[in-house]
Symmetry: C2
Subunit: 195 residues, 2 copies
DNA sequence: CAGAAAATGGAACATGTGTTCAATTTCTTG
DNA sequence: CAAGAAATTGAACACATGTTCCATTTTCTG
């Protein structure tokens, strides 16, 4: 992807600055995907967003796919933290259905661009094998998270994850992002509860 | 989108030929999306695929979004028939779980490109409002189909639909398209059956 | 301080893009 | 058959794209 990290990269100011710039490019790419979708990802676009010349993007990543892979991985890591924080904040209700409905609603309302970007990158992985490991890591992380608070049955965990993906996708094409009450019936049916 | 259909369009050979060409462009667009994804959709690309000059595409559709809307709608209609045929063919088993697992497996194995294209167009609707009605029509059709053979609870129907979407998406980023046995546990958990 | 390594950024390249335009062909109608 | 409507198409437009090249600047090492 870039120059192989030498054993003494923490003291070299040149490499440190380079690493910072590399991160700036990744962050800029995520912002571009959020705003304009994957269609908006180009060398010049993300370079402008990051405030660097286009040649710098080529210097740090040898292809546009390289940038996307790095971005998807990065995004996965930071999203975990955000999700965890959101999950903590939302646990004023004690029922799982209400809590999750609230969480999903927030994802498509307060973080619509981010959520959308996530699924676009996700789907892109279906076409570009290079992105697949990053996308699957996403599933693993989410599965682990569900496993903590949910059923032990692997099939149930898989179904739950799939349902959430599907619900979010449907929510993303709604004319305006739905509130928790839209998600509740489906979630309730999923765990055999009353809404 | 095109010239408004005059009351006597069935006798005018010029308009008839035009309509045929319009359909050829839509079909070509679907093939392009299947092969190269939405990223591959351009005037020149679909023109080459359809065997017409690029100017013809502009003549029949006033924008690239117009082509996509028409394609999504078309694709929706033809997919209904194919799905129904597939559903009929697959009813040798009598259990819903096995039948559906088999059907999903076929969608990602024998019709991978088509399924993928469907979801790409679907997700694109999240960014381009013009595509949303077509995308929502998809949900309605699928919901109707599920309603015929499934539960009466609206929440359950919604959950089922969402789960299938999620399962298909996960299947699409697998290294190779999974067989029915991969879908069965999740589907079983969904309807509280043993796999 | 001199030399080397890394990073930077401006310019240029060939190619692809959406779209417009004017001329031409195809077909219908009076 | 002649007039006109509809369809067709090649050429051209201005611009965006991925990528390469090379001169310059920054930073570290001996």
């Amino acid at each position: 992807m870039t120059a192989s990290p030498s054993p003494r990269e923490q003291t070299d100011g040149r490499r440190a600055k380079g690493e910072r710039r590399r991160r700036a490019i990744i962050d800029a790419t995520l912002r571009v995907v959020e705003r304009d979708g994957i269609a908006g990802v180009s060398h010049r676009n993300i370079a402008r967003e990051a405030g660097v010349p286009p040649a710098s993007v080529v210097y740090y990543f040898d292809s546009i796919d390289g940038v996307l892979v790095a971005t998807l991985l990065e995004s996965c890591e930071t999203m975990i933290d955000e999700l965890r924080a959101l999950a903590d904040e939302v646990v004023d209700s004690e029922r799982w259905v209400s809590t999750t409905a609230e969480l999903l609603s927030r994802m498509v309302r307060e973080h619509r661009g981010r959520t959308l970007a996530e699924y676009e990158l996700y789907l892109l992985a279906a076409r570009r094998p290079a992105l697949r490991p990053a996308a699957r890591r996403w599933i693993e992380v989410a599965a682990g998270h569900v496993h903590e608070t949910g059923s032990r049955d692997p099939g149930a965990v898989q179904a739950l994850l799939a349902t959430i993906d599907g619900l979010l996708m449907q929510a993303l094409i709604a004319e305006e992002p739905p509130g928790p009450e839209v998600f509740r019936p489906a979630l309730a049916a999923l765990v055999h509860e009353r809404a």
